[in-house]
Every structure is written in C-alpha cells, then in structure tokens.
Amino acid sequence: MKRLKTVRTFQSKFNGVPEATVTSLATPETVALVPVTAPFVKLKLLVRENDRVDVGTPLVQDKRDPQVLFVSPGVGTVEAIVRGPRRVVQEIVIRLDQKSQGAKEMAPTPLEILDAMPRMELIQLLKQRGFWPFIRQFPFMDVPDSQSPFPMVVISLHCGDPFAPDPSVFLKDQQASFRHGLAILEKLAEKVIVVAPQRFFSSLKLMGLAKHITHVTQDEYPAGDPGVILYQIKKNVADNASCTMDPQELIAMGHLFSTGRYQTKRYYAVGGTPARLPAHYHARMGSPLKHLMGDINQGTGVITGGIFTGSLTPVDVHMGTGLLSAIVLNATDKDSFLGFAWPGKHLLSESRTFISSLGSAPLDMDATLHGEERACINCGWCDKKCPVDLLPQFIMKAMGAGEMEDALALGVLDCTGCGLCTFVCPSKIDLAAIMALAKETYHRERVIS
C-alpha cells in the first residue's frame, strides 16, 4: 500500500453532510433507468410502453455498438418513456410488480470459470448483463473500447466529496462480491488500483479489505477522484486510456457473477436539508427522488451526483443511473445588501477574503452564484485549486479563441471535471463547463466520427 502524493484540495466544510447510519427504504412504486448519465451514448429503445420487463431485460442499446445494453432495474411494466430535448430518452419508468418474488436467476460464474474464460467472452457477458456502460474510459469517460486491454482500472472507494456514500457503509457484508468484482476487472486490465482515503482505511482494514487497497490518499475532495489518482500514478502516454468504475457498481457486478442474481438496491447518501436526517438510505436503484428524501421545502433544489459535479434536478424525476448522492440545497434567486462589504462570518469561501476563513466550522451553502459573471481578470485562483496542475484560465482563453491545439497542449484532456476552478472563480466563469465542452468537442470530432 502506497501513499499518494499531496494534491490541491477543497478545504472548507459544508453543513448537512450525511451521517454513516443506514436506513432501509421500502420498495417504491416505480423505478427508472436514467441512461443520460452516460455521455456520448446514442440511445436506441428496445422496449415500448406497457411491455413487461424483468430485472436485467435490455431496455436500450447504444447505436454505436448494439451489443452495449442498458438493462432494467426492476420487474414490472414499462409505464412511461420520458423524452427530453431533441427526443433524447431521459427516463424509462417501470411500475414495479409488487408481488413478484424477484428476477429469475442465471448461472453464476465462480472464480474458477472466470479464470478460464477468454477476455472477449467475459466482455460479451458484461455487455449482455448491462455492466459494460458502468465501466468508463479516460479521458472522455465514454463506454470503454473493448479491443485492447485497459492499461489500468482505477477504483476509488470515495472521491472525497463529503456528500458521497461512505465506503464503510456500502462495503459492509459485501466483501465477497467486491472481491469477485475485482477479479473480473483483473481479467480486463493489466493492473487494478484500489484507492481509499486515509480516514476510511482503519474501518476497511477491520472488514478485511486492507490487502486489496493499493493506495491511500488525502481525505479532502478531489484527492480521491479517479482522474486525479490516474494523473498521479500514470507513467506514460498509454496509461491515459485507463478505466474506472464506481465501487457500488463493482460490487453489484461481482454479486451478479458470484450468485447469479442482480443486486437492485444501492446505498444512497442524502445530504443538505432534506425532510429526513442527512444519512445513507438503502433503496432501489433508480428510485424516485421524492422516495429517497421525502418532500422538500419550497425554494430548495436537489443536486444529484456530487456536490461539485452533480446537476440541479427537478424533484419529480428518478435518480440518475449510476448517481449515488443527492443534496438538498436552497435554490432561489437572492441578493445581499452591500454584499461586498460585510465581514462574512458565515459565508463559505475558499478564499481568504471573509472572516469565516479564520475558522474551520462547517457552513451552510446554497445553489446560487453569489455575484455576477465578469471577464476573467487573470487572478489565477483557478489554477491554485486544480488537482491536476492545469491552468484553467489559459485553456478557457484558448477555447474562446477556437485554438483546440493550444488547449490540448495545455493538458485539457487531463481535466477530471472536479469543478473547483469554477467554484473559486471570482468572475463566476464556468471554467469546468468550458473544459468539459472542449473535451467533448474533441472526442466527437476525432474519436467517434
């Protein structure tokens, strides 16, 4: 086990961080597959409304590779297919069959069979069973290219985001599935890296997982982000094509292969100011947001996904596939009287321009901009927070001038989208969005077409 070297991290503390307690929620009436969380995938529907589906029934496929399937998270009938802008499928809502005793079993794949299985056959199996889209390949986080072995798979148990699920919660009693999942990835990649933040190491050791953890990292966000970890341990150009997977999906994959049954529940971390206690909830994957966090107050919004990377989601939808945390925050337009002049005892800031920076107490946060967008003043605060040593302001300017080559030379593809540059920007420029767009544009131009 190695210690990764120190990176720049987020230092402030938020109120409403989920506790490590777990509450099991009842089965909701509907669950949904929300495939939009996978970028670049061109969806093609395989079911229609009122079709009966089982857990593991393919619901959509990727037009680019029809073998890549997204499967149903529950047994029941397809109630609605919700489409967003440009008729992109947003949600496939399944009304659960409450009487069903769960899905039919399939033949398990114990470790011995796995060992003897050729790589391509395993990939076929992963695609059929709907796990392939959960493995994502750097730098674009697209569905991986199955042709060549991955140089590395980075499994990060916790990215450092205070609102992400606690690994000591979701790994409890799941050690066997976790090991089985790792064994599958070891077949696919030359190297599998498992990284945990320092503060979870002792509890993971008690669970007997210490020997699987190859690296420990800092506790703060984004030191545990897979992209940041890859940036620290990559040795050559080839390592850039490494992959990553969320640990809960890894466990689910291991569970299916070792027992022959789909794991349809996930541990969701709910934080901020929900109606319930901010804590972990064990619920069906793709549950409705309201089911996860109860009713939310007028004027508040829900960020699904990480606090820095997630998006503000309407409350009447289902949890995005692969997203495991939800944060309820105040989201109404505000203004503050002579806002620039107050000492700011309770104002959260990564800068030292408020009195609050003298203390380390957790502070409230809301989903508003706290200022107006302005031109970049070249202050350089964005690069002081970048965990992968980028200079976001220069990449932003290169993209503004349409110079993709310059942006690439400055390393834009190393950007992990942690969002800290945008967070700290005093001019309120969407640096992370600009860099994400640069990566996306490049990927669409060069790799996909």
Binding site: L347, L369, C425
Partner: protein
C-alpha cells in the same frame, strides 16, 4: 423589506428593454447591484459557488488603499503647513485638496465607463473602482483638475475600454493615465515645485523629492541624508511627493494585507523587492558614479519614490500581469530591475517605477507564452 429595495423594485420596469429608459440600463443595474449584490440560481455544475465575487475582490484592494489615501491627505496638509498646525487642520487642508482630485477621477472615469457600457450593452464593471483611486494617488497635489480629467479619460478609454473593458486591457489603466499626463504636461508632473502644495501668494518652497537629488559630486547616500531624507523619514512618508507614494510603510502594510488574503500575488511583490535589492546591490558594488542614484544602495531605492506604491498596487493588477506563477516571479523581478536601472542611468525620468511597470505590462503576454510552453512540456502528453 429594505426601503431601497422597494424603490428599485418600482423603478425596475422603466429600465427593462421595453421600458422608456432602457438605454440607461447600464447605470441603473450598476447602481442596483452596488446596493444589492445579485445571487441568481446557478445554471451549470458546480451548483455551489464561492461567496467571493469581483465586487468584493476589488473592494478589498480599495480597503488596502484607504490608509495610503488618508495618509496622503494628511501629508499634503503637513507639507502645506510645514508641520506647524494641528493634526486635524493638516488633514482637512490636505483632504480639501486631494478629495476634488479623487472625485474628478471617479466622476470622469465613471462617465466613460458608463458610456461604453451603455453603448455596448454590457455591465459596468468594478475595475474602475481601483483605477479611479490609484490614479490620483500617483499625481502631485498641485495637479490642475482638468489634467486629472484628461488623464483618467485617456487611461479609461485608451488604456482599457478600447480593448474591451476590465479584464481585457493590456496595460494598467491607472498608469496609462499617469503616463499620458506625465508626457503631455511635464510642467505639472516634474521638477521641484509641484510636489508640495503652497498657499497662494507664497513663493513656492523647494519641494524636491529624494529622487531628484544627485549629480553634484560627493556620495549620494550622504547627499540624500543631508537633504533631510533619512531612511526612517522616507519610510514613514512625511516628505513631498505624489499624493499616495510617500509612505513606503503604509504601502507595504497594504501589500502584506493583500498578500495574506491572496488578492495580490506575493510572487510579484516579493519578486519586485528582490529585483530592486539585487540590482541596487550590484550597482553599488560596480564601479560607477557615486554621486547619483546608481550607488544609492537597496534601502534608499526601496523606500523612495513610487516603488512601494507601484509594486504593491499597480504591478499586482492581475489583468496586466502574467498568469503563470513562474511568470509572476520574472515579471516582479524585472520591474524591480528596471526601476533601479531607470533611476540610475536616466536622470531625465527620475521616477522609473511607472515606466518599468508599463514596460513589463507589454511583455507579460510574452512571459506567459514562454512559461506556458515550459509548463506544458513537463506534462505527460494526453492527446
């Protein structure tokens, strides 16, 4: 509800695109956002944002400049009365002369800023808050107000707005304004008579600054000392000079505050100080004229003239400085180097700071270009 807010709420429709005063939306929203800093719901991830915004960023520089400004007012009065009056009297005399200069600078500056914002349909930005205060601080107290107006007009329009406004300017607007006045009206900006305010009818007292000494044989350090400019006096700042430049102490206090809250880059400030010290030391050791500033040594160079003000508040303007950390060290160092060089070898321009900062402003894109290439080459390529 705040009564001001009610007023804004009532007047708001008049300034909307369909309202009768839609042309004046710029000045309206500038006023409104000054009183009520807006905080709309975020549209892209991350949906949580830092509380810092440009208004606070700029206000903190103003805050750091306040002691310098207030002392400048006091010192103008002190020089006027020759130190022979009560503190309050000296301060009010000084303030009566300095405040009009500041007001003209802000007034004319905002006129241009708002005119450009209105014509272009963009927001009035906060950059002028600093430019409008920094520019008067670099002027002698005897400056005619119409020259202040002309100077700030040139600085704001040619130094900033023609490039697109705050954040897009190549040169520091306050120094551009000063350079304009300096070269257009040298009589009001140089010589020995302009640095001290005198009562009308009284013969101008010699208001020589320390930098104008030299070239008359003997040792420069002794000459400066004998002229009444001991190091501690230069440090405290009770001597004739531009309004805001005299107190090196208060300028460095402001600099330390800005470095601690990280609004100003410590790399530029320390780089500049290191640049002055090394260059001045080398020049003192080198064989050369001992009766000019060439041999004045590092401390006199640090505490005299406008170096302290310039390196703390002008050179640290992030817009016109390089954006890379290594670039900032180089930039700061070279400002220090050129300041000493200009003072030493070119007696025509005794004040080297303004020119060396403007000169390095021009070079900062080049510094960025080179340092970016080096930084990019160190990465493991990912294309």
């Amino acid at each position: 509800m705040n009564p001001l807010k009610i007023i804004f709420k009532k007047t708001d429709p008049y300034f909307q695109p369909e309202g009768p005063f839609s042309r004046f939306k710029g000045i309206y929203s500038a006023t409104r956002t000054f009183f009520f800093v807006p905080s709309p719901v975020t549209k892209t991830a991350p949906h949580v944002r830092d509380h810092i915004d440009l208004k606070r960023f700029m206000s903190l520089v103003i805050f750091a400049l306040l002691p310098v400004t207030l002392f400048g007012m006091f010192n103008v009065g002190y020089q006027y009365h020759g130190g022979g009056a009560s503190v309050l009297e000296m301060f009010t005399t000084g303030a009566a002369h300095v405040l009009p200069i500041i007001l003209v600078s802000y007034g004319v500056g905002f006129f241009w800023e708002i005119l450009f914002a209105t014509v272009r349909g963009h927001e009035v930005t906060e950059g002028l808050l600093i430019t409008g205060l920094l520019f008067p601080l670099t002027l002698p107290p005897t400056i005619p107000l119409w020259q202040v107006a002309l100077g700030i007009s040139f600085g704001v329009v040619m130094g900033k707005e023609v490039f697109g406004g705050t954040g897009r300017n190549l040169l520091n607007p306050a120094l551009t304004a000063r350079a304009f006045v300096f070269f257009s009206y040298p009589v009001s900006m140089s010589g020995n008579a302009v640095w001290r305010l005198t009562a009308p009818g009284v013969d101008a007292m010699s208001g020589a600054t320390a930098l104008s000494l030299g070239g008359t044989g003997g040792d420069i350090q002794e000459m400066i000392f004998n002229a009444g400019f001991s190091l501690d006096r230069l440090f405290v700042g009770l001597h004739p000079g531009s309004i805001g430049e005299t107190s090196a102490f208060l300028c460095f206090v402001g600099a330390i505050f800005l470095m601690v809250i990280r609004v100003a880059s410590f790399r530029i400030i320390l780089g500049g100080i290191v640049g002055v010290i090394t260059t001045a030391l080398i020049f003192r050791v080198l064989p050369g004229p001992t009766d000019t500033w060439f041999s004045a040594g590092p401390l006199y160079h640090l505490f005299s003239g406008g170096f302290a003000l310039g390196i703390s508040f002008m050179a640290t303007d992030p817009v016109s400085a390089p954006g890379t950390d290594s670039g900032r060290w180089i930039y700061g160092f070279l400002i220090g180097f050129f300041t000493v060089l200009l003072r030493s070898v070119n007696p025509a321009y005794v004040e080297g700071v303004m020119l060396s900062i403007l000169f390095m402003n021009v070079f900062s894109p080049l510094i960025d270009h080179v340092t970016l290439k080096i930084t990019a080459a160190r990465r493991i390529p990912n294309v």
